[in-house]
């Protein structure tokens, strides 16, 4: 059974298509792995075994009947608990939504179902996707399978940890400031933030509407491309979604050719605050790309240094408005409704009990930033910085095909290490935030483990809006070359088959 867990989604799909294995077997194997490991990892907020197995069986039956199924038919997937999926609670990792059963499916949830994927359950996240460690969940702390004392990144730590723990071959996340890429970086997995508008936000509980971008999470670049093609593309229910065909992502991942490609290294993403082991692996990866025929040049994006400041005004401003609806009136938690207290009192008690500190911090900052008399100084100025960052990207992409940087300045930090230091926590998203502000696309792929702590390092590739195929082209080329050097993928080779991964029980080398 373990062998099934080690397979990529692409391989699983092939074996399912040739009826070598059944969707039910594959689903059961992953449910068993969740059962066996999630006490420690705590990636899932809830699983849906009955529906998952029933849908797997139905897919098997339809395949047996000769029906044409989706390319990933029968492959299990884990979904971040911020997408609505009727029949399961959607909590967003917040107590304030405890007990809410959404009556409708997010567009992406529906596309997964329509493409015959099997949804295993909902994964943990920082409350309303606010955080970089998944410690801010109102329910549980997710642990990094590489070292269970460390964070799996955030906000999508649940989805990333589920992949690294071989609990699911595919997962869905959302990336507002790095919530797909930073967890991918610190768990040795692949995470893609598509072009803003390239994936539908309908049914994704909003944190910051102008930044939130759903995207695929996987263990390989090709798997991410396959999943991206299932979930991506125009959705008439999301006004900000782009009515343009997706580029050939899977084709790019298979081609994996960077010869002649101009790769720009962002000068500003280096130096103080960057762990030496991270920079070492990053520069080795650059050499690999160069050896594959890419041209490496240094590029300056001077306004990127203001990205974090602008982000922490725009994002909380939108948060303060988006989260207003959690007022105890219509759904979710209600505290202190004793028939005597007023609407306002019940609302205050509910929000006091239901929202965590980070959420409250952002609501307060955002409310302040949008206030009359402060708007121009804060929200208005931040929007101007946002424009300057977009122009930096445009200027850079006039010179190079892609930009690259470390995904995050350090490897996974210890649980609790930055919990009381929000600014240190925010630094984790230093390199990822500019792409959210500009709306372009970016990917994080593993580029080895840091020699300092044997923890994974992520390599970020950024491409212009709607050029998501370039992410897969570069990512797959790098992945292929590095895997060849290591003798296998980072997760199999350096986690599953190592002592660190013993708790995962998926090692091939007998122990």
């Amino acid at each position: 059974m373990n062998e099934l867990l080690r397979l990529t989604a692409a391989d699983l799909a092939d074996r399912l298509a040739s009826a070598e294995v059944s969707a039910r077997e594959v689903t059961q194997a992953h449910l068993d792995q969740i059962e066996a490991t999630d006490d420690v990892v705590q990636a899932f907020l809830c699983t849906d075994p009955e529906r998952a197995l029933a849908s797997a069986s139905a897919i098997d039956d339809r395949r047996a009947a000769g029906e044409t199924l989706g390319r990933l038919a029968g492959v299990p997937v884990a979904v971040k608990d911020i997408f609505t999926y009727s029949g399961l609670p959607t909590t967003c990792g917040s107590r304030i939504l405890e007990g809410w059963l959404p009556p409708y499916n997010a567009t992406i949830t529906q596309r997964l179902l329509d493409a015959d994927l099997v949804i295993l359950g909902k994964t943990n996240l920082d409350e309303f996707a606010m955080g970089s460690s998944t410690e801010n969940s109102g329910y549980q702390v997710t642990h990094n399978p590489w070292d269970v004392d460390r964070i799996p990144g955030g906000s999508g730590g649940g989805s990333a940890a589920a992949l690294a723990a071989f609990q699911a071959p595919l997962a869905i996340g959302t990336d507002t400031g790095g919530s797909i890429r930073q967890p991918a970086s610190v768990t040795g997995t692949v995470g893609v933030k598509p072009t803003y508008g390239g994936t539908s936000r309908y049914g994704v509980v909003a944190m910051a509407s102008s930044l939130d971008t759903p995207g695929p999470c996987a263990r390989t670049v090709l798997d991410a491309a396959l999943l991206h093609e299932v979930i991506g593309g125009w959705d008439p229910r999301d006004s900000t979604s782009i009515n343009a065909p997706l580029p050939d992502l899977v084709g790019a991942a298979r081609r994996a050719d960077v010869s002649g490609l101009r790769v720009g290294v962002v000068r500003e993403f280096s130096g103080e605050g960057y762990a030496p082991g991270v920079l070492q692996r990053f520069h080795e990866a650059l050499s690999v790309l160069e050896s594959l025929g890419a041209e490496i040049v240094e590029v300056s994006c001077p306004h990127f240094t203001y990205a974090l400041s602008a982000y922490y005004l725009i994002m909380p401003s939108e948060v303060s408005s988006n989260l207003a609806r959690f007022d105890a009136m219509r759904y979710g938690l209600r505290v202190g409704d004793d028939g005597v207290r007023s609407v306002e009192e019940v609302m205050n008690l509910t929000r006091g009990a239901g929202f965590g500190d980070e959420v409250k911090r952002r609501i307060i900052i955002g409310t302040y930033a949008l206030s009359s008399g402060y708007y121009d100084a804060y929200y208005g100025s931040a929007q101007k910085v946002r424009t300057l960052i977009t122009r930096d990207f445009e200027a850079a992409f006039a010179e190079v095909d892609v930009l690259v940087s470390p995904t995050t300045p350090t490897t996974a930090f210890r649980i609790g290490e930055r919990a009381d230091d929000p600014l240190a926590m925010y630094m984790a998203d230093l390199c990822t935030i500019p792409s959210n502000l500009a709306g372009n696309c970016a990917i994080s792929i593993p580029c080895g483990v840091s020699p300092q702590d044997n923890l994974p390092v992520g390599f970020q590739v950024m491409a212009p809006p709607l050029a998501d195929d370039r992410l897969y082209l570069v990512g797959a080329a790098l992945e292929r070359e590095l895997s060849a050097r290591w003798g296998g993928g980072i997760l199999l080779d350096q986690l599953a088959d190592s002592a660190a991964g013993a708790h995962l029980n998926v090692a091939r080398k007998g122990r």
Binding site: F83, P103, S320, R330, Y331
Partner: protein, 497 residues
Amino acid sequence: MSEPVLDYDQALLAYEPVMGLEVHVELNTASKMFCGCVNAFGGDPNTHTCPVCLGLPGSLPVVNGKAIESAIRIGLALNCQIATWCRFARKNYFYPDMTKDFQISQYDEPIAFDGYAEVEVDGELFRIEIERAHMEEDAGKSLHVGGVTGRIGGADYSLLDYNRAGTPLIEIVTKPILGAGAKAPQVAKAYVAFLRDLVLSLGVSDARMEQGSLRCDANVSLMPIGATVFGLRTETKNVNSLRSIERALEYEIRRQAALLAGGGTVFQETRHWHEDGAYTTPGRSKSDAEDYRYFPEPDLVPVAPSREWVEELRATLPELPTVRRDRLRREWGFTVLELQDVVNAGALDLIEATVAAGAGAQPARKWWLTELARRANEAGVELAELAITPRQVAGVQALVEAGTLNDKLARQVIDGVLAGEGDPADVVAGRGLAVVSDAGALAAAVDRAIDANPEVAAKVRDGKLAAAGALIGVVMKEMRGQADAARVRALVLEKLG
């Protein structure tokens, strides 16, 4: 409840009223502003709802293109500029009937701006400058149960109906209206009546004030005659009829004048109009006005109507109500007052169609404003809802003019049409209602009447022509009304002449 007020004329001797009118028009698009739910008045509570208009977590708005079209047409009809690029904005505040705890509206980038309208009061033309017309969504409805006032404070509990949530609204805001003096309340009323007729003629709204599909918030302040600085204003809400607008403004002017004349100051606040007692009471204070924290709605893309589209829409504008009315008044030879009655009765279209079907304007007006208005009133329906068409009314009038029907018979024919007995000719045939035109039968009846009433006949012969009426009555009675009274009279006089 009523506060001290100054005599109206006295108030206007000392103070100049400055008004600002905000009119909300609910559009009659098939679906709501940001979702596919049906946009209809009423319905069982919470049946016209979906995740979007309920503001459920994760749902997203999508703009109704038809609503934008209607907004642009209203803007054009109000002589506004149409934005080349504009955005929606979030207006953040809490109210239980708002599903997202913000309203999607427009802030500093309205779809239409800088227009004007002209209204006439007592033959005097007033130009109202339009500041802006912007798009937004309506909220749901709260029903506060228990308590004394029917308002949220003191209620035992509240019921929420989100059927109206997300209904497309256009808010039309005037610039300050000055110089109307004592006529200010009438100008306000005329302006709202103008807007009502305008949106009706554009076909973009049902404009039923009693159902709230056209609502007016009336701002007014007073400044001493000759002053240039505006006074502190109040905003009166809950003004649900044209008459109330005039009365509410009159009341506010008198109330504020009393305050100012007594050395007091006006408190800047929202006030509620009470139709029954004809007074206003304070509502929310504007001094602790909420900070709405407007910012561009990130869930929606900007609206950028092309100039070609705007010009196409301009070409679809119907003849504007004032222009059309003036034309019809001249064509029909009506007085201003006659036409006003027609408009107020909602009979303009009906009369126009009746005239088009061949009737004269005056007979058409007579039928619709007297006989048919009475029946509509009795039935509690609008004139247009009566089961008789302008063509049928024209048909009745044609029969009258042909001498087939007299007025009394014509009314019976109308009864028949309304009862579903077919066209006027069918009713005449079916009920045997035509006047007796057989000269012999009529002459014989006249002879019989003269023979039976020799004393009356003698009076007529002696020149007392008024006495002929008695003989005519006898004849008409014998003919069961089915005779042309004028013809009977002529016969009587001929025989006794």
